[in-house]
């Protein structure tokens, strides 16, 4: 309850400060969507060369991409910590966070909220709706709560992984380029993982479970494939909870090692 009302307060303050710079706001939305658009065009180009990708049709892969955009947009809204090491550790702003009575990770994420990312989620829903029509799929009412549950699981996976990776800055003075690397790896999870080698497939499913953010949960709504990825779909929330718990643990342990900035 407290955290919900805090969320609302921070959101109001975000609105007050950021909406005054309207142009800035729309440019951010536009550049976000442009980035996603390029990815989508890439998929379309691939399918000009081939009919199917590991047994998946164009409309199906586009649907998966649409699904992926929903948790990704939510994740981007709440987790905008790309400058964490610099701002909170090198400049010592973590001091301020740690002397306030709310969980420190929660405060940090709220302070850096980025609601424009949420537009990506809306576009994702739109893409799914369009490919749904193209694929001629049936629609059950319980797909809606199921979609919400799987999305929640996917968001938790992202949150957990990036929380753990961001927490590296507590352990190392100069965090390496691991975040951009990860940002590239995550993209593999949007394509049918059976097109990769067994090792990469294993890594994407069980080590850095990016497959659980795109292809696996999305396959739940599509026609069954021969390797039946959909059977794993219902594990998405469980994987989400586990990954998030690990991320939180790494973070909380890291905070104990925080040294502050000299002053």
């Amino acid at each position: 309850m407290l955290y919900l009302s805090l969320f609302w307060e921070y959101l109001k303050n975000y609105a007050k400060t950021r909406l005054t710079y309207r142009a800035d706001f729309w440019i951010e939305v536009l550049s976000d969507l442009l980035f996603q658009g390029v990815n989508l065009i890439f998929i379309l180009i691939v399918f000009q060369q081939t009919e199917s990708l590991g047994g998946w049709s164009e409309a199906e892969v586009v649907f998966v991409y649409g699904f992926f955009m929903v948790p990704f947009g939510i994740f981007g809204t709440f987790f905008n910590l790309w400058n964490f090491a610099d701002r909170y550790i090198a400049k010592g702003e973590m001091d301020r966070i740690l002397t306030r009575p709310a969980h420190n990770l929660f405060q940090v994420t709220l302070e850096n909220m980025d609601p424009p990312s949420l537009f990506g989620s809306f576009i994702g829903i739109l893409i799914m709706a369009i490919s749904w029509g193209q694929l001629d799929l049936v629609f059950h009412w319980w797909y809606v709560p199921m979609m919400a549950l799987l999305t929640l699981g996917a968001v938790l996976i992202y949150m957990g992984l990036y929380t753990a990776l961001t927490a590296i800055s507590f352990y190392s003075d100069a965090p390496t380029g691991i975040l951009p690397l990860m940002y590239n790896i995550q993209n593999y999870g949007r394509y049918p993982v059976n097109i990769y080698s067994r090792i990469i497939r294993f890594v994407l499913t069980w080590v850095l479970p990016f497959a659980f953010v795109g292809i696996i949960p999305a396959s739940y709504f599509l026609d069954a494939k021969h390797d039946d990825m959909a059977s794993l779909a219902l594990y998405t929330p469980l994987v989400g909870v586990i990954v998030f718990a690990i991320g939180l643990f790494v973070w909380n342990t890291g905070v104990k090692r925080y040294r502050g900035a000299g002053s």
């Binding site: 307060e9 007050k16 301020r96 002397t99 969980h103 502050g260 002053s263």
Partner: protein, 358 residues
């Protein structure tokens, strides 16, 4: 017996610092094998602060003041030792603990840069879960005392340093904390704001019984506020006690200023105090002179000599020893060893006087 606000036992903090070797070759070596050395910022310090006390925490830059404050406020985890503040172990029960303390770091803002001051306060009200009615009452009181009225709607980035610092104080007190930690609260402020802040802190302490621990480089803060001083040097406590004690222990003598009715000469004055070893005179102008006398000599003895003579005295002023000078003398008294020796000598002193008393 009053409860202890802060109880510190053998508190120690070590940092691992990377040794950077010089030059390109060194950088390459560092890439493969790093060398670390342990730096002990705070070396087994022990002290207690009862509730309602204002305690000054002083020392040179790098003496370990900020590190101690950060451990006391739960930001840093101590390497060893026991620590209880308000009955909590700060870094363990952080979120519960920080609800009852207020923190102001002079060098760093606690407020949100872009939003209006009042909005920052509202956000803090939510974070600290202060009921609306309490918040209103408290805010009104603080705003009136620090005269913030017209500042409340401005964004923090448009405030002057003095205005910002007053807002920081309000922000740290909105939830009515029982302990207030101030890390250099008056740094960079002009004398008027400094005085205002000192008066305000004194009032808070008197009316609400707020315990205050402050670090400062401005000894006038200490003189104005603190009944007690803890002095830190190189991670160790070299003095813990009253300000008056500090003065009398470390000062070597006093100064008495005279104003005479007619011109005098140094020779004439010297003959007056002949036989009193250590007494010296400096003539400031024809009719004003200062006499310096070591602690071993009674003020009354020396005064009697001068007053009893035939010189015409218009005014006498006994000068208090200035804390600034004393502290500077301690800082400058050479290496840490001599300071430690001096501190040890002091302890012997107290041991002897203690023994004599019993």
């Amino acid at each position: 017996m009053s409860r202890l606000a802060i109880d510190v036992q053998d508190l120690r903090k070590q940092f691992k610092v990377q040794n950077n070797r010089a030059g390109l070759g060194g950088a390459l070596k560092d890439l493969f094998k790093r060398e670390y050395r342990e730096v002990t910022a705070v070396k087994d310090i022990t002290f207690q602060i009862p509730q309602g006390e204002i305690c000054g925490y002083i020392g040179e830059n790098g003496a370990g003041k900020s590190t101690t404050i950060k451990m006391l406020t739960g930001i840093l985890v101590p390497t060893s030792g026991q620590l209880r503040v308000n009955g909590f172990v700060p870094h363990k029960e952080r979120e519960k603990f920080v609800k009852e303390i207020g923190v102001v770091f002079g060098q760093r803002s606690q407020l949100w840069w872009d939003i209006g001051v009042i909005e920052s306060f509202q956000l803090l009200r939510k974070v600290y879960r202060v009921p609306e009615a309490d918040f209103r009452r408290r805010l009104d009181e603080l705003v009136e005392r620090l005269q913030l009225g017209e500042l409340l709607n401005r964004p923090v980035r448009k405030l002057s340093l003095g205005q910002r610092m007053r807002c920081e104080l309000v922000a740290s007190l909105l939830h009515n904390p029982s302990i207030l930690f101030l890390d250099e609260p008056t740094i960079g402020l002009d004398i008027i704001v400094k005085t205002e802040i000192r008066e305000f802190l004194k009032g808070m302490n008197k009316e609400h019984g707020t315990t205050i621990l402050l670090t400062t480089h401005d000894l006038q803060d200490i003189e104005a506020l603190c009944s007690r001083v803890i002095m830190l040097d190189d991670g160790r406590i070299i003095y813990d006690g009253g300000l008056e004690d500090l003065k009398s222990r470390w000062s070597k003598g006093r100064e008495i200023k005279f104003q005479f009715g007619s011109a005098v000469t140094t020779d004439r004055l010297r003959t007056l105090t002949e036989g009193l070893t250590g007494v010296s005179w400096t003539l400031e102008n024809g009719v004003e002179a200062a006499m310096w006398l070591p602690n071993e000599i009674n003020v009354s003895d020396a005064l009697a000599r001068v007053v009893g003579s035939s010189v015409d005295i218009r005014d006498i002023k006994i000068m208090e020893t200035n804390t600034d000078e004393i502290v500077r003398a301690i800082y400058q008294s050479g290496s840490a060893e001599t300071k430690a020796a001096a501190a040890a000598a002091l302890e012997d002193d107290t041991a002897i006087s203690g023994a004599a008393r019993s």
